[in-house]
């Protein structure tokens, strides 16, 4: 652990989306995609967010990158209040936080050459002279494992894994301190996935990057993260460091999620302690009053359906939102 200063601090962040009004005089229904999320990411570490689709993980990432409006709360990056930034100051601050997208096919402009895609953030932020930028692009290609003769190729001439390397080179071009990786490997084949995960870890060590790592693949998350937050329906239900969460999961949802992963390891499989949770998540527009997981929880009790649990600290690092823990 190189440095334990907080890189990013979120306090009660809320993102709401307005939906279509029901009828002429009906109220505009609000969907709370992210509902009161607080977390701290340490410098040089990887914070992973896991959860099913629709749990709000991507929306949270977009909120941190200021790509969706945040309705309430506070996001502090270093000594900068991110939500206070406007216009030009926001634009220049983007140099310090960059995004790696899920789909390497749709996130690269098909009409730009690879070198121009990687140079684009430097151009936009007017970093250095054109000559020094071009030199930087060559270094970046080297760093992410692409060849110099590929500089002038177009995205369609690359394979999926190589395209994701271009996306990574673009993200680290402006020497950011925070990189948000939104499912960076889920569109890739298993063989290529390992190459990209190893690359991300090497870059983190070399450049002292802080990662916000979003994934639904728990094996990948377990391999990559230093700390982890489990989201369900817009809320964090459990949060801890890597060892404590995986060795000692507390929330029934986390346990179900972990036990649902099919395992190639016969020892793990033969334990036969799979917790299946039935049904689908509740409708996010019309949330039940109590615990959001109550309708699917195998351990549900009467007061779970009426009183919403708050995220409580079990010890300094492990926090859980469940009445039964």
């Amino acid at each position: 652990m190189p440095d334990t200063a907080p890189m990013l601090e979120l306090r009660d962040v809320e993102v709401r989306f307005s939906l279509k009004r029901s009828g002429l005089f009906g109220a505009i229904p609000q969907l709370r995609a992210v509902d009161g999320v607080s977390l701290t990411v340490q410098k040089g570490q990887t914070m992973a967010i896991v959860g099913e689709s629709g749990s709000g993980k991507t929306t949270l990432a977009l909120a941190i990158a200021r790509l969706v409006p945040v309705a309430a709360g506070k996001i502090q990056m270093g000594d900068v209040d991110l939500l206070g930034l406007q216009g030009e100051s926001l634009r220049t601050h983007r140099q310090h936080m960059q995004f790696i997208f899920q789909d390497p096919y749709s996130s690269l402009n098909p009409r730009l050459r690879a070198q121009d895609i990687v140079r684009e953030p430097l151009d936009r932020l007017s970093i250095g002279s054109l000559e020094s930028r071009n030199k930087r692009v060559q270094e970046l290609f080297e760093q992410v494992g692409l060849r110099q003769d590929q500089l002038r190729l177009f995205p369609h001439q690359f394979s999926g894994g190589q395209r994701q390397r271009i996306g990574i080179a673009r993200a680290i071009a402006s020497s950011p301190s925070l990189v948000i990786c939104d499912e960076p490997v889920s569109a890739l084949d298993v063989g290529v996935q390992a190459q990209i995960l190893n690359l991300l870890r090497t870059l983190q060590k070399d450049l002292n990057l802080t990662y916000m790592f979003i994934s639904h693949d728990l094996g990948v998350v377990q391999h990559m993260c230093d700390s982890i937050a489990v989201m369900y329906m817009g809320k964090i239900v459990e949060q801890s460091d890597r060892e404590s969460l995986f060795n000692n999961p507390q929330h029934p949802y986390t346990r179900a999620l972990l036990s649902a992963v099919p395992s190639a390891d016969p020892n793990r499989r033969n334990r036969g302690r799979r917790i299946t949770i039935s049904g689908d998540p509740p409708n996010p527009i019309d949330l039940p009053p109590g615990c959001r997981f109550a309708s699917r929880c195998p351990l549900v009790e009467e007061h779970c359906k009426t009183v919403e649990p708050i995220l409580k600290s079990r010890d300094p690092i492990h926090r859980v939102a469940c009445h039964l823990v």
């Binding site: 689709s53 190459q195 094996g219 395992s263 190639a264 390891d265 499989r269």
Partner: protein
């Protein structure tokens, strides 16, 4: 193994591309017993889905054509069968569940009508009989309130429910073989666990054999008894799941298992780098290379690999592998 239900032997499927004729499936053979679960594993572009389409006689033609080999279902060669006969077989004796449940359901018909269509067509049921049978099927795949859901359109259902509907449709006529092409890739893990449970329960009830196409060794371990590992249109290793998982012999199979960060039961601070399989699956234009297709990515590559296609070596009664490294070692051991 007892009498095999489906027998694929020396199947070759060729596609005409701008670069010439390439074999997307190259001399593939395997057997499937009644009630057995077999898994086809490999990265994308290795011919897994093509194999499924070839079994069902759904290879798009042109550009594709089955140029050699046979697919024998209970003594009947499906490669030679007429279109009319294939239509009778599809959905009735062999049916398929596709990867993306949204695009494979028709958005303008209710799910009940879509299940009933199979029943009317294959079993000659009347409209009313088919509908009540459809309700029973929706109930069997554990969707609550089946008599109301039967009138829902696909967009009104969640991803997991749509995939259940696909399974209900595939199993409506009690097929002998269910081909599931990455049935849970688009779904969350918790839903994936539900779908796997459901498939196993239904298999126990109907006795159907399952061909599961996947790239995830975890799913293979969970579901299948036997596994066929494919690479660039060829079978490179097959055997019982526990043998392959514990003792993979082909370098590609080993890489495929080792490169995935498997969820560990007990995590420690120690985190080694993942083992990589360098490079990617070759493009279609390189298929049919007369040598080992995996040679460019293999760390044990030797001269023979570039010169001649490795033959299947029977290692045990159930496990076989096509690799020069192993065949040479075997020869040395026997000599």
């Amino acid at each position: 193994m007892a009498e095999s239900l489906l027998s694929v032997s020396n199947l070759t499927v060729e596609f005409t591309t701008r670069g010439g004729v390439v074999p997307v499936i190259d001399d593939l053979s395997f057997d499937l017993g009644p009630g057995e679960t077999l898994s086809l594993v490999g990265e994308s572009g290795c011919g897994k889905s093509m194999t499924a389409l070839a079994i069902l006689g759904l290879i798009p033609s042109p550009p594709g054509v089955i140029s050699a080999g046979s697919v024998t279902l209970q003594g009947e060669d499906l490669v030679q069968a007429t279109d009319a006969r294939l239509r009778e077989i599809r959905g009735n004796e062999v049916s398929m569940v596709f990867q993306e449940p949204m695009t494979s359901l028709n958005p303008v018909y209710t799910v009940g009508e879509q299940i009933a269509e199979t029943l009317r067509r294959h079993q000659g049921l009347t409209r009313n009989q088919a509908k009540s049978q459809a309700i029973q099927m929706i109930d069997a795949v554990q969707i609550p309130l089946p008599d109301r859901r039967v009138n829902d359109y696909p967009h009104q259902l969640s991803g997991g429910m749509r995939q259940r509907i696909m399974i209900a449709m595939a199993l409506a006529c009690q097929p002998k073989i269910l081909i599931a092409d990455e049935p849970t890739t688009a779904l969350d893990v918790t839903v994936q666990a539900q779908i796997f449970d459901l498939m196993q329960n239904l298999q126990r009830e109907t006795g159907a054999a399952i061909i599961l196409i996947t790239h995830d060794m975890g799913s293979v371990a969970e579901m299948a008894e036997r596994v066929v590992v494919m690479y660039a249109g060829r079978k490179i290793e097959d055997g019982q799941v526990q043998d392959i998982l514990l003792q993979p012999r082909h370098p590609y199979t080993r890489g495929l298992i080792a490169c995935v960060p498997h969820l560990l039961d007990k995590v420690t601070t120690d985190r080694p780098f993942l083992q990589e399989v360098p490079g990617t699956v070759p493009p279609l234009s390189d298929f049919g290379f007369d040598g080992c297709m995996f040679a460019p990515r293999c760390d044990l590559v030797r001269d023979e690999c570039w010169e001649e296609k490795p033959r299947d070596i029977q290692l045990t009664k159930t496990q076989s592998v096509a690799c020069w490294e192993i065949s040479t070692n075997n020869r040395l051991a026997n000599a």
